[in-house]
Amino acid sequence: MKVKYDTLDKLLVLELTEEIDHHTTEKIRRRADYEIQRHIPRKTIFDFSGVTFMDSAGIGMVIGRYKVISMLGGKVAMINVKPNVRKIFEMSGILKIIPIEDCA
């Protein structure tokens, strides 16, 4: 995962660079929570451009981060979501609370 933080905009971009499953979410979750709690961003963006595969573990991971971020008063969005990954998010219904945006 690559992390970019814009101090002026208080914008945190978490660029996911691996396949997302039960095995990889543990590491992603720890790093993401660390960055979120360190910066308390106004907005956090999950960039999925490097994600070629995701299963339902990704849904739990994003909802979990959404809870942490909302509690700290921040907003969440996702970008660059490939069709196979979007299909899984659509099925779960979480796009109603976490939108996919066109670009950062």
Binding site: D21, F53, D55, S56, A57, G60, I63, I88
Partner: protein, 153 residues
């Protein structure tokens, strides 16, 4: 027309979470001989990943055990059987309900069986408490010819 050839493979591995990727990629490589579309292949990988993850976190609850995958190619479709000798499922109907999970603390979404059901053509769960669980899935891989002729139907 595609050659209707039959083929089979069996895979056995330890219930370690880093084998999730190994399992789905191996099944995808086996299915490749049916010349699936990228979407079909992605659906199968996801379904396999869900089933294997279930074996690891629910069947064996992170204790070590053996997960077995049997794949069969028959009449242009892929049959996948994924089984464990873990603790089994008490209430299969409840487990299949969307968003139902016994492990919300692990940030599980409860979408595993729902995804398997909708990404594959058929899905069946058999389980005996204390003995294990077997998930059987089937998907027809449409050949490129059939996809073209389908538009005229």
């Amino acid at each position: 027309m595609k050659d209707i050839t039959e083929n089979e493979m069996t895979l056995e591995f330890l219930s370690k979470s880093n084998n999730e990727a190994f399992a789905r990629v191996t099944v995808a490589a086996f299915v490749s001989q049916l010349d699936p579309t990228i979407e079909e292949l992605s659906d199968i990988k996801t379904a396999v990943s869900e089933a294997v993850t279930n074996c690891i976190i629910h069947g064996y609850e992170d204790k070590q055990g053996i997960i077995k995958i049997k794949c069969k190619i028959f009449a242009g479709s892929i049959h996948i059987e994924i089984s464990d000798n873990g603790k089994g499922i008490k209430d299969i109907e409840a487990a299949k309900t969307p968003l139902f999970t016994t492990k919300p603390n692990l940030e599980r979404s409860g979408m595993g069986f729902t995804i398997m059901e909708s990404f594959m053509d058929e899905m069946k769960v058999e389980s005996i408490v204390g003995l294990g669980t077997k998930v059987t899935m089937k998907k027809l891989i449409k050949s490129k010819d059939e996809l073209c002729s389908e538009t005229t139907n």
